[in-house]
């Protein structure tokens, strides 16, 4: 096939898959949570209740697209766009197969960190622009949470960088041919997993939108597809974290030779998404102050120790 066409197909294929994964995840999560909580979940529309996705999409598009008269209009509209943009663009550096990547950047990991830090604006601006008390407190919490957890998200990745000797994600995957980095970097993996969960504000760490305290947090005043974009953005952020875990710690697309590489990658990523949903069902929400001080007091020193130990070991082995 023409290489240009092939690249185009990969590029648009990744985007197409991502957007559909986000939609399907709504159904997967509801069914799985129901299973784990001994309920039925959505099972009426279509086989296994799958058509609930279509119904949800129709519903959310025909809801009133309300912009509060007290809100800061331009910021209110931009805020949801930022979260989807940063999550989707952050995905461009993830290699789904050998050579199958939208942007093969030498500073791949830094690109990912940069875009995940830009995601803060979405929630803070949403909270501020809504001009509502719950939204503001939710936005502030989100910012404090992302501040705290982003530092050691970066630190936990440096062990992988030391081992692979590269910031390029394709090279990091290739460096795992002998052994997946989850074994020498288990601590780094656990820290990245926690930081990633906090970054996507998924349920154990969903304090910015804790419904029992803040109604819905930063998107209290959002309705229709603007709310939907926050929702989709959260799922895509979740997929991105799962994909990054797979790429950095679980060998990316490396797998048995008889399975196509992208399928291996999708399978591993999906396994982690299921794990995240399981965590949501299994773990209660911590208190906000506990969560923050826990991060600074324990995860940050642990990430530093992990980094130093990895560096020393690599240098000792090189001698």
């Amino acid at each position: 096939m023409n290489p240009t066409l092939q690249t185009l197909a990969v590029t648009l294929g990744i985007l197409f898959t991502l957007l559909h994964v986000a939609a399907v995840l709504i159904w997967v999560e509801r069914r799985l949570l129901a299973l784990l909580q001994d309920r039925l979940g959505p099972n009426r529309a279509g086989p296994l209740g799958l058509f609930i996705i279509v119904a949800d999409v129709i519903k959310i598009f025909t809801k009133e697209d309300w912009i509060p008269p007290f809100a800061d209009r331009p910021l209110y509209v931009i805020a949801p766009a930022i979260i989807l943009l940063t999550a989707l663009v952050g995905f461009t550096i993830v290699p789904v197969g050998p050579g199958m990547v939208v942007l093969d950047l030498n500073i791949g990991i830094l690109f990912f960190l940069a875009f995940s830090s830009l995601g803060i604006y979405s929630t803070v601006l949403a909270g501020w622009a809504s001009n509502s008390k719950y939204a503001l407190i939710g936005g502030l919490r989100m910012a404090a949470q992302m501040f705290s957890y982003e530092v050691f998200m970066g630190l936990s990745l440096m062990g992988v960088v030391i081992l692979a000797g590269s910031l390029n994600l394709s090279e990091i995957v290739e460096a795992q041919r002998g052994m997946w980095f989850v074994l020498p970097q288990f601590l780094g993996f656990v820290i990245f997993l926690l930081a990633g969960l906090a970054e996507t504000h998924r349920l154990p760490f969903d304090l910015p939108e804790a419904e029992s305290e803040l109604v819905a947090g930063f998107h209290t005043e959002y309705s229709s597809m603007k709310f939907g974009i926050f929702f989709v953005g959260e799922y895509i952020g979740l997929t991105l974290i799962a994909a990054m875990i797979v790429t950095l710690f679980f060998g990316g697309w490396l797998g048995p030779a008889w399975i196509p590489a992208p399928l291996v990658f999708c399978f591993k990523t999906f396994a982690f998404i299921l794990f995240f949903i399981l965590m949501r069902a299994a773990i209660p929400r911590p208190r906000f102050d506990q969560m923050l001080s826990w991060g600074w007091k324990y995860l940050l020193p642990l990430a530093l120790i992990n980094l130093i130990a990895t560096g020393a070991l690599v240098l000792i082995r090189a001698d």
Binding site: L75, N106, L113, A114, S117, L118, I137, L140, A143
Partner: protein, 177 residues
């Protein structure tokens, strides 16, 4: 690549202009973020990808959010926007504007008259930056660490309350606990 560079430079200039002339502090800050992002892209285009990434992570991702916090904390509202509009009247900006224009003219003249600086011939990757930072410039790195330590110590005193007169940080109106 050259075309892309000049387009991003133009975007950086325009957005920076809007930062100065905008009366709403939060909107101005967003323009500032865009300006920083275009500067990052310029760095990337002239062959400094590591600096470009740091520009986004540090300036756009961290320092600007801190600014946003300050603006939100200071409760900047409509009356501040009005005050800003007053400050943007001609008698305030005419003097500094003329002086800045003179400075710009001299800078442009110097650049045109002297050498022809050319960039973008070689790419300075992350590894090169690291090798020189922790090699010949190690002392500077340690000094930076001390500076950051100073910042940390200073920050921790922000919330130190005088125990006899408890400071009401939230103005008594409430807030997050």
């Amino acid at each position: 690549m050259t075309v892309a560079f000049y387009i991003t430079a133009a975007i950086a200039l325009l957005t920076t202009m809007r930062v100065v002339t905008h009366t709403n502090a939060v909107h101005a800050l967003l323009y500032f973020v865009i300006s920083l992002l275009s500067v990052a892209l310029m760095f990337y285009l002239i062959g400094a990808p590591f600096v470009a990434a740091l520009e986004v992570i540090i300036y756009a991702g961290a320092i600007m959010v801190l600014f946003l916090f300050v603006i939100m904390m200071l409760n900047v509202g409509e009356e501040h926007a009005r005050q800003e509009r007053d400050w943007l009247s001609r008698r305030f900006w005419a003097g500094p504007g003329v002086l800045c224009a003179a400075l710009l003219a001299i800078t442009a003249w110097v650049i045109i008259e002297t050498a022809h600086p050319s960039v973008g011939h070689e790419v300075v990757g992350a590894r090169d930056v690291g090798a020189s930072l922790f090699g010949p410039y190690l002392i500077a790195v340690q000094l930076a660490a001390l500076l950051l330590l100073g910042g940390l110590v200073g920050a921790s005193h922000l919330r130190r309350h005088d125990r006899r007169t408890p400071l009401r940080t939230d103005g008594g109106k409430g807030g997050e606990s």
